[in-house]
């Protein structure tokens, strides 16, 4: 679904993944999340080339051990730095980086039909492209100055 489905810009404060049953936690050696804009509706294998130049922003950083406990139905990470996303400026990239760790929590993906996911080794400039994406929940606040109250009400449908 294109970014034009956003009725308003929003400030994203957390990102949540939908875990499969039976997992308890995962521990990373370090963990980082970047966000930014993508001008294309599909990703290429080069991570940084997918960003609109100058928009890649680190929104979460843990330089040492970081444990994530599985929470059902949504396992959320609250961003250190909320990200203001304006759909008029392009699609949104969420990049997650980690070097190594122990254990795992499988989360659900869905088929997109376009190149919407890149996965590769930590630190590698490129990865492999896939036609799926994580089932995600983003939470934040709408940018009220860019919408009328009536328009906001309409999103309840």
């Amino acid at each position: 679904m294109p970014s034009t489905e956003f009725s308003d810009a929003m400030t994203i404060s957390s990102v949540a993944w939908y875990p499969n049953s039976g997992y308890t936690s995962v521990t990373f050696d370090a963990f980082y999340i970047n966000m930014g804009y993508c001008a294309s509706d599909q990703l290429t294998e080069n991570f940084d080339a997918n960003y609109v130049s100058g928009t890649k922003t680190q929104v979460f950083q843990r330089a040492s051990t970081y444990k994530v406990d599985a929470v059902y139905p949504w396992t959320a990470i609250t961003l250190d730095t909320p990200f203001f996303y304006d759909p008029a400026q392009g699609n949104l990239i969420i990049e997650v980086d980690w070097p190594d760790g122990v254990d795992e929590i499988y989360t659900f993906n869905y088929y997109t039909g376009v190149n919407s996911l890149v996965m590769g080794s930590y630190g590698s400039p490129t990865g492999n492209v896939f036609m799926d994406a994580p089932y995600l929940q983003l939470q934040g606040e709408l940018s009220l100055d860019q919408s009328t109250f009536a328009a906001i009400k309409a999103t309840f449908r």
């Binding site: 308003d8 997650v96 989360t107 088929y111 080794s121 089932y135 606040e141």
Partner: protein, 36 residues
């Protein structure tokens, strides 16, 4: 591991707080919470 997801979004909002759900639970995958 390093992953990027291009998000194509559906907006379901409250008056100020917004929740955007993207996609659906189709099949389990080993990212981003598979540590090694």
């Amino acid at each position: 591991m390093r992953t990027s997801a291009l998000l194509l979004a559906l907006l379901v909002s409250g008056a100020v707080a917004a929740t955007v759900e993207v996609g659906s639970a189709q099949y389990p995958a080993n990212m981003p919470f598979c540590a090694n």
